[in-house]
Amino acid sequence: MATAVTAPRVLENAWVRFAARRLGRLVVSVWVVITAAFLMIHLVPGDPVRAVLGPTATAEVVAAKRAALGLDDPMWSQYLHYLQGVLTGDFGTGLASSLPVSQVISQRLPTTAMLAVLAFLVAVAIAIPVGVFMGVLTRGGRARRAELSFTATSVVLAAVPEFLLAVGLVYVFGVSLGWLPVAGRSGASSYVLPVLALAIGPAAVLSRIVRVQLQSVLQADYVRTARAKRLRAVTVYLKHALPNTLTATLTLGGLLLSVLVAGTVLVENVFAWPGLGTTMISSILARDYPVVQAIVLVYGVGVLLVNLAVDIALALLDPRSTIRES
């Protein structure tokens, strides 16, 4: 009886409803990703076991490996087995290395995550000051020339894909100047180029978004109100305009974050970075499908978690809670 009374009251709370709805969506999406990863091994052309063992392997060896991997079981039994494995952190064994896949993941995931998080922080740390500065400088159609050159620069930087930026950075800072290491992970200096390669594109896009949003916020009535209070210009920009700029920026910028996660695959391969991305590509080329399967899963869930984090941040930042209610 007590639960029957409290349950509706709990659901009245907008936060609880938001969390419940968002969690429901996450569970469905994660299930889709897991299923897609499971299906992958059955959709690849040819026999994956034959592919990895090579044409010289005898039929008996191939059959034994298939049986060991459970590939001859009925589909539904394989699916249930796979689900069970994923939920308990067991991703099976690699075909090429015969190491547990979970061990590969736990070794490689932190270095990739570190790269992505650092790149995101650098992108934000560049984009917000630059965007705000340009927004203030060009407010109300001022400084047209500065606006044009800023737009041109950011459009070009944003259009260059991260792996080409990486190649350019390798050439300039690694080959020509010789300042920074260009491959592998060895100390703090080895982070500089991969992080920059990942961060520059998103920073260019984000700073454009910040500038445009700031411009429209500066037109808002409440900014006029703030000016009518005769606050210092800095206070008007940072306290009244910036927070409202950020909610709008985050909505669009959240997309960039998940793109950045995917971008690590390419950038890692340019810098021979010992992360998930390099492992993924080498495993694809070696047809080590259990490893590929697991990494695809990790990337997919990673993107979903990033999207969730962005939604939660938006709900926290915006007290009107349009996200929570819609």
């Binding site: 469905v28 999406s29 889709v32 992958m40 690849v44 052309p45 109300g140 159609g141 001022r142 047209r144 459009v155 259009a159 260059v160 894909p161 792996f163 080409l164 190649v167 350019g168 390798v170 050439y171 690694g174 080959v175 020509s176 808002a220 009535d221 409440y222 006029r224 109100t225 009518a228 209070k229 005769r230 606050l231 210092r232 206070t235 009244h240 927070p243 409202n244 909610t247 793109v259 996660v261 995917a262 971008g263 695959v265 390419l266 391969n269 340019v270 590509i281 694809i284 080329l285 499908y289 695809v296 990337y299 997919g300 993107v303 979903l304 999207n307 930042l317 915006d318 007290p319 009107r320």
Partner: protein, 615 residues
Amino acid sequence: MSRWRSVLRTPVGACAALLLVGVLALAVLAPILWSAQADRVDTDAIRQGMSAEHWAGTDDLGRDLFFRVLVATRLSVELALLATLIAVVVGLTLGALPALVGSRLGRYVVAFVNITVAFPGLLLALFLAVIFGVGARGAVLAIGLAGAPAFARLTQTLVAGVIERDYVAAARAAGIGRFRVLLRHVLPNIAEPLIVNATISAGGALLAFAGLSFLGLGVQAPQYDWGRLLGDGLAGIYVTPAAALAPGIAVVIAGLAFNLFGEALAKAVGLTTPLGRALPRLPRRTDSSAPSDAVLEVRELTVTLPSGARAVRGVSLQIAPGEAVGVVGESGSGKSLTALAIAQLVEEPLQVRAERLHFQGADLQAQAHRKLLGTSLAMVFQDPMTAFNPTQRIASQLAEGAREHGGLSRQAARARVIDRLRAVRIHDPERRARQYPHEFSGGMRQRAMIGMGLMGTPALIIADEPTTALDVTVQQQILQLLAEIRAADHVALLLISHDVTVVSAVCDRVLVMYAGRVVEDLPAAELARGARHPYTRALVAAVPTMESDRQLPLTVIPGRMPDPDDVSAGCSFAPRCALADAHCAAEQPELIASADGRRIACWHPAPASLALQES
């Protein structure tokens, strides 16, 4: 069609178009012209750097990389266009499907698109590349299908926007099948944004393809595209950097060509508003006349628009302590700009100038009087729904001015906020202070706005249409509140309104503005029956009263006010004035003060006595 062609007239559009034509021409011609050079093996010139003979060096087999990059244009562009075609066709189909099939199946399609579109294209492409197998064919399918969800989402949005329109409804009512409606009526109307996006995503596909080939998942030897050349070249970047840089540069240029051309198309198809150029800042005159006891003294105030036209043309006014002055006029008469200019809230590119602009004896044009204005001048704006910052609590928005100018502590400011909210009759101010603006009703917000002005000790409240956005019963409460504050603290009021009734009820004196000038200045009590300017009389006559005959149409002033850009040399009201003659059209009447303190700018003012009689 002319809109499409206008792309070429912008510098960016012309550059992008030129680049794109160049890339496409190269794609067609390069393999025909230079295949032989690109494939010629020269074992004497292996892995050479840049030279006059080999502009971008040579590869492992001594093949010329410059020609290989040129020849690779065709395969790179071809594969990218093929992938884009797949993305567009599959995306269009997925996006239009919900409109074709029933709502149940449609929902599943939408849900599928929603889930897939949340993943970055590159991740989808990698996943699909594994399924379709390593190689050019697999990569085309992978990149094409990975681009489809974004296109499907776009199509869904566009279709949903068009399908509700009348002509689509009419076609469906006429019994035309869904598929036919889609083909004949919907698709042509969403073609523009689809083409623009397809152009941009062709650039994206080109870059993605370079990525996959670079990783070794795309084009396989002996075929080569830019990504393949880049991947092969990267290993030797220390020895022959050109081997990696040349294909990289080619990818960037081609990608930019598609991207920029798409963006330029988008701009040309959509609307762009050219911003007016800013005027050079003009030196401000300072004037050290004897101080007066007026709270506000304004002489010859002008506000200049970026076009050079003047929206406010020489307004002069004075407000005595505790006096309430109203400013009335139609929209566009410059009354709100006058108020904002006085409050020093007009920003560039608009220019404010005045012979004299004194507030409480301080020259507002000479120095920054931030503290004085922050504590002694209160503003109330028209729309209370937008005048508060939506992301901050009421208390902090009210408190910050007092904390900045009054140096109040957090607690002291908070106590003052609650006290002021109570003063503007907000119930339960302790709770309300903690709330956000969206939790307040419109009337409450306007009261909170007045409360914000009362945080200091205002000598003047400038209220710009404070009741226009509120409903009638709330209007009365706000006006009542303003009247009480004035009476209690001897605060002067400058009330801007288009509503003659409101102004005559609240104010002591009324200024009537027309086309940026004050045309009459008279006691509020005289407004209804003693107005002498034909425009004032027309304004008053346009107000319906309880005695108005409801069978007759409402009285209006014929004609419309001139824009600031085309004011004539004569009286601006002349074209709409029944009394106007040649003199009125030729020469502008000055605002002349009479002995009783009234002012009027008219060549044919109604005599005071006649004005009374007529009414």
